[in-house]
């Protein structure tokens, strides 16, 4: 067997096992680490296909930035708040497994029947070298044929960023439940607070438009009496035996 086939099978196996680990692991951070492993192997497969630029971009953008932020969120989530596979009712579990098996069969059938295994597209090594390399090739196609899609994607990302900033404004995420405005619970019992008049989805109401009050300065605690268990002289042995 030639070396590249062996290496491909190793990479593919690790990738699939990591993807399985994502689904199986109990801890969300472990699942995130398995996703990183899977994407890293996908980048290695890209390198084997001769798409080094795509591999580097996959690692830099997807693994190095997006998954870092996903891991941020996963680290701050209490694992007890997440739904568990084994806590589902038997009907749900059976239907879930059945749907998963159907999906697997469909994808397998699609791969085996309708792909062009063994044929080459028009990005052959000669064509790529003629344009001057991978980066040049991707750049030429991206900024001429697909420039509209490129601009639309950048607009979508901008909308996402603005939405995230608006959702995280301090007025919305108050420390106490009765200070939150306009938030929606995730349907979890701990997400709602019975003390607030909540809407049908657990929303907390937006306040009427009013000018913001100035934040009050917290008052300091008065002097508290210091109670010590042992006499301070008992804490040191310097000069004593």
């Amino acid at each position: 067997m030639p070396w590249d086939v062996i290496i491909f099978y190793i990479l593919a196996t690790v990738c699939i096992l990591a993807a399985g680990g994502v689904v199986i692991s109990n801890n969300p951070v472990h699942a995130g680490v398995f996703v990183v492993l899977c994407f890293f192997n996908v980048a290695a497969i890209f390198v084997m296909l001769g798409a080094e630029f795509l591999a580097a971009v996959q690692v830099i953008v997807y693994t190095g930035a997006i998954l870092v932020l996903v891991l941020f969120v996963l680290m701050l989530v209490d694992p007890d708040d997440l739904p568990e596979f084994h806590a589902a009712r038997p009907v749900q579990r059976t239907v879930g497994l059945l749907l998963g098996a159907i999906l697997l069969l469909e994808v397998g059938a699609a791969i085996l029947n309708r792909t062009v295994i063994g044929q080459q597209g028009n990005a052959t090594p000669e064509n790529v070298a003629a344009v001057g390399g991978n980066v040049q090739g991707v750049g030429r196609v991206l900024y001429t044929n697909y420039v509209l899609a490129f601009e639309v994607v950048s607009l979508v990302l901008l909308v996402g960023i603005i939405g995230a900033i608006v959702l995280a404004l301090p007025e919305r995420l108050g420390a106490q439940p009765d200070q939150r405005q306009g938030t929606i619970s995730l349907g979890h019992p701990r997400g709602t607070d019975a003390a607030i008049a909540a809407g049908p989805l657990g929303e907390t109401p937006m306040p009427p438009a009013s000018p913001r009050e100035p934040r009050s300065v917290p008052t300091l605690d008065p002097q508290r009496e210091l109670i010590m268990v042992r006499d301070p002289d008992e804490y040191t042995t310097i000069g004593r035996r």
Partner: protein, 349 residues
């Protein structure tokens, strides 16, 4: 990609092994260099007792760290705790594979390349493994089961991700001028001459891209979590931040990984902006080229230590504000101006 001599695989392994060992020894003596230079700037002596002039201090530090008790918090996530420092260390060392220490030389009757590999996306390889290094920080912070470590780790990760963007964008100017992402290509393009009026200077990109150089240096210092951007690991802020719970050799992996990152960023800056192995006499003797590269790297490492000794650290919101509100717009302006000038120069506008 420039044509490199195709050499047998075992020869590439030998070159890689030698480079890796040189890097590791350099990292160990970087600790000594930092202590001595910091001491000199603070009007004291630094290590003087272990060996002549304290030169065996890194050895003593290594032995001490290997002998310390390896404490693992009881509620720590053991597997992640074991692997997190390794990620930082390994992703830092791997980056030396794309840095050229010269061209192709004749030695012992064979043609040997003075670099491990010449990827045609070499600069992106460096950035990619730099962004993988951040996982060592956040996973280590998470696995410590210590909320202050977690805070420090998240801060460090946010900082590294932000400055990584600035780093990449500052390099786009260099890529525009050189037309290639391969580091060896960029190196070879800096070895031609540039006519500026009556002067004939080498075409080092620090002359054509001064703003990008400054932005790259600042972002490079922030990427490696060094002062003045070291709030995530500052001793006075969060005990030791993300590596609080690590002791003995695990801590040294973080510590040494940071130093290797410093060396790699210095090598990167020297190769991309200061011409790397270019210098008087380097086209005749390959040894002179390596010496010139060493001089430039030591200059950047001195700059790192100088910053640490003199500047107070930034507060976290100031740090993030600098990245997003100052350096990012400047890098984008640099790209636009460079592209404009290149198009005008090529007559394509």
């Amino acid at each position: 990609m420039i044509e490199a001599a195709s050499q047998p695989l075992w020869l590439t392994f030998i070159v890689a092994f030698i480079l890796m060992n040189v890097l590791l020894v350099g990292m160990a003596y970087m600790t000594y260099f930092e202590r001595k230079v910091m001491a000199a700037m603070q009007d004291r002596m630094g290590p003087t007792r272990t060996g002549p002039k304290g030169l065996l201090q890194p050895l003593a530090d290594g032995i001490k760290l290997l002998g310390k008790e390896d404490l693992i918090p009881a509620s720590a996530d053991k597997i992640v705790f074991y692997f997190a420092p390794l990620i930082v260390f390994v992703t830092a060392i791997v980056r030396v594979a794309v840095i050229p220490f010269g061209g192709t030389i004749e030695l012992f009757g064979r043609e040997i390349n003075l670099f491990v590999t010449d990827l045609n996306v070499g600069a992106l390889f460096l950035l990619a493994f730099g962004s993988l290094g951040v996982y060592g920080i956040i996973l280590g912070a998470y696995a410590s089961a210590n909320r202050y470590s977690l805070l420090g780790g998240l801060r460090a990760a946010a900082q590294v991700v932000s400055y990584e963007i600035v780093l990449g964008l500052s390099l786009v100017g260099v890529f525009l001028l050189s037309g290639s992402l391969s580091i060896r290509d960029i190196l070879l393009q800096q070895q031609v001459d540039l006519q500026i009026g009556p002067l004939t200077l080498p075409n080092w990109f620090i002359l054509s891209q001064p703003l990008a150089f400054v932005i790259f240096l600042i972002a490079g210092v922030a990427e490696t979590n060094r002062a003045p951007f070291d709030l995530p690991e500052a001793e006075t802020e969060l005990v030791s931040g993300f590596h609080t719970e690590y002791s003995a050799f695990r801590f040294s992996f973080y510590f040494l990984g940071e130093y290797i990152n410093m060396i790699i960023v210095s090598l990167f800056a020297a190769t991309l902006f200061l011409g790397g192995v270019d210098g008087p006499g380097s086209d005749r003797y390959w040894g002179m080229g390596v010496i010139w590269l060493l001089v430039k790297v030591i200059f950047f490492l001195f700059f790192y230590v100088w910053l640490r000794t003199t500047l107070p650290r930034f507060r976290y919101d100031q740090l993030m504000g600098i990245a997003w509100k100052v350096l990012l717009p400047l890098a984008l302006i640099n790209i636009v101006v460079t592209a404009f000038i290149r198009l005008v120069g090529n007559g394509q506008l």
